[in-house]
Amino acid sequence: MTKARPFSVAITLATLLLPALAAAQAKDVVVGNISAMTGPTSGTHMMCQSGSRDYLNYLNETQGGIAGKSGKVKTRYLAYDSQYVATKAKDGFARLLDQGMVLWTQCASAHSDALISDYETAKVPLVTGSQGIASLFSDWAYGNYHSGIANMIRTWMLWQKAEWEKAGKPGGTLVLGTITTDEPFVPLALWEIDTFAKEQGIKLVKETFPKGTTDAAPQLLRLKDAGVRAIYVVASASGAVVALKSAKALNLNIPMTQCAAATLGDVIALGGPELAEGYQGEYFYEPMSKDPAKGGSAGLQLARDLWARNHPKETPNDMYVNGVLSGMVIAEGIRLALETTPPDKLTGEAIKKGLDQVKGFEGQGLTRPITYVKDDHIGSKQVRYWVVKKGFVEPVSDWMATTTYRIPKK
């Protein structure tokens, strides 16, 4: 009995002190991620998720979290596998909400629209690196780049038009081509594109081949016969590789540009550097496929270091940089919120106020300045085209403004 007394006292003291200690400890901000961690789109989504997770963990480990005038917080990153099914994404959102989520992120385009009512009702802001998001409508959503998937081809067409005008308008009429697979995002990417082409005085020739086929030669030959000056490829990486193989076999010699549904890095990894040589693509951030010998921004160097530290045995992936950039935007939003809000009051609404103040944020040079203002959370609205040279990518255009078209709501 006597021997047991010190032990009982210790237990009692611990019981009394532990809640007090916990209260004294900085509150963790729960950042949720709902992505397809399994299924056909998991490759892209997992890279994006790893980038934001690794960056926020890096801040926790090296700087003890994110600090503002009112205090410091650590982030706790929780993920849920949606398998790219909107119903499951909604279940995941509810689960993460139960776990205290106050901010969420993803690169899954379909989820952004399907979950609008959920995150608006819960007042949990979204920071998305999605390149295929149909349209950024919600006041609670913050993007990194453009106002919707339909802007990819529109911006490319304007770029081609500018180049064609610079070259003295050869042929009198600008003829451009698209080659697409029959993947679900394609109709959104080409949304009312004929009207846009007509407005711009461009003749647009469209061809499609089924995903899974191994030859796109007939479609490419028809584009060649139509006299197209350049071809835009709206496909995932596997579809792009099929189009590229067919083009090489035909000695097509027409510049081809990949839409942002896949990165040039993906195409190089899948088809090999030789096949991808000369292939163009768009990025709204500085890609990891850039030759390391040619340097890069501080943000790119950080992304490379994070990759080397966390995934030493794997091939670097461009979408990882997209994820890192999302992590940076999240951290910036929290930092700005902490300027006025103490850590224990850091709700979704408070973080939204922080995000609303993001101004001229470049992610250590990873992207063009991101400024969020009322009714415009789109992001930088800047894109740059790159080309594959000897297994790496290098810029083929300067940064240029994207179009700001929005697919009508409903």
Binding site: M37, T38, M46, T87, K90, A94, R95, P184, P187
Partner: protein
């Protein structure tokens, strides 16, 4: 009924066909059914169980039960394979959703048209069942999945982009939270399950079973094979359409990605695991597969973080191997489904302590 308080080991003696066909045969069964209903009704108020996440899972289970019940009527009772159930669900979902979003029809007015539209399309794809059987028929329903998805993707502009749908309303109540929608899902699930149970005890159900067991013999007995097969398709796809209509009004969003071939395969898996030709089995199968899938979705990310030395995506992908292995094991160890296991448990319980 009230004279028989519990189910005796010798079985319940019925002196008429009507009594023999009763669903609830003993007082104890009635008591348990009432207790079960009270529990289900009270569930959104029970601490620990009433988290939105849990309620969302239950709503998902309820909708899947409706869709799988339809499939079990066609496949389990009538013997006709269908691997395109989620496409028919999509027809009901988009019909109900568009009636609501573009013409302002409330849920209560658009849910039945959703079911009927799915049934109409289902009957068209069911016509080949007169001449085709087994895997050949499965191929035509696979075709339905591909054709209907293609139409939704390229044929109709609004369905390719997705659109918002109004929540269910009744008087002044808006069923826009899991706590509220749970009751809509519960009412529909119980109603549709009871309807299926009754249907299968009727002349129609007996005709389906006769066709399943031997269609030539059934025809010899005077059953109009063409009519009943098409009826089975209509009922199956009507259930799918109702499930789809419920889903879009629950999600308040209609989107093509919710109705994939993979979903159709899962519905087939649910009725096989639960037990073909069993209403109770369908419910067990849906619960089992849903919980298993949920484990993958929850444990996958945890495995991803814990086993960070593995390549990105490998740990979460491993969970799919797990779910596949469980499905194979189930097929090997209990090919007659969970319904059979349930009947064994009930028999054991009835005979206890004298079972041998």
């Amino acid at each position: 009924m009230s004279r028989i308080p519990f189910y005796p080991p010798s079985g319940v003696y019925s002196d008429s066909y009507r009594k023999d066909m009763r669903i609830v045969k003993t007082g104890k069964q009635r008591l348990m059914a009432i207790a079960g209903l009270v529990f289900l009704a009270a569930l959104p108020f029970i601490p620990g169980l009433n988290a939105p996440y849990h309620l969302r899972l239950l709503i998902g289970i309820g909708i899947a039960v409706i869709v799988a019940l339809g499939l079990n009527i066609l496949t389990g009772y009538c013997g006709q394979l269908n691997v395109g159930q989620s496409a028919f669900m999509m027809v009901g979902a988009f019909t109900s959703g568009m009636l609501n979003a573009y013409w302002g029809w409330p849920f209560w007015a658009s849910v039945i048209p959703g079911g009927l539209a799915a049934a109409g399309v289902g009957v068209i794809f069911g016509i080949p069942s007169v001449r085709l059987k087994g895997l050949y028929l499965a191929l035509t329903t696979l075709g339905a999945q591909i054709i209907l998805t293609w139409i939704a993707l390229y044929g109709v502009t609004v369905t390719s982009a997705g659109f918002t749908v109004e929540p269910v309303r009744l008087g002044g109540i808006v069923f826009n939270t899991p706590q509220k929608f749970y009751y809509v899902a519960l009412a529909f699930t119980l109603g549709m399950a009871l309807a299926a149970k009754n249907l299968m005890r009727s002349r129609l159900g007996r005709a389906f079973i006769a066709i399943r067991d031997n269609d030539r013999a059934a025809e010899g007995m005077g059953i109009d094979i063409f009519k009943y097969k098409l009826l089975a398709f209509a009922i199956c796809t009507f259930y799918a359409g109702i499930g789809g209509a419920l889903l879009v009004h629950y999600m308040m969003w209609a989107q093509l990605e919710s109705f994939t071939l993979q979903d159709s395969v899962w519905y087939v898996a649910m009725i096989i695991v639960g037990g073909l030709g069993s209403i109770e089995g369908t419910i067990f199968g849906v619960i089992f597969i849903t919980v298993l899938k949920e484990l993958v979705l929850v444990v996958g990310p945890m495995a991803q973080e814990t086993l960070s030395f593995l390549p990105i995506g490998a740990a979460s992908g491993m969970m799919l191997v797990f779910i596949g292995s469980v499905a194979i094991l189930f097929g090997v160890l209990e090919p007659r489904g969970m319904a059979h296991r349930w009947s064994l448990i009930k028999s054991f319980y009835r005979l206890w302590p004298f079972g041998y």
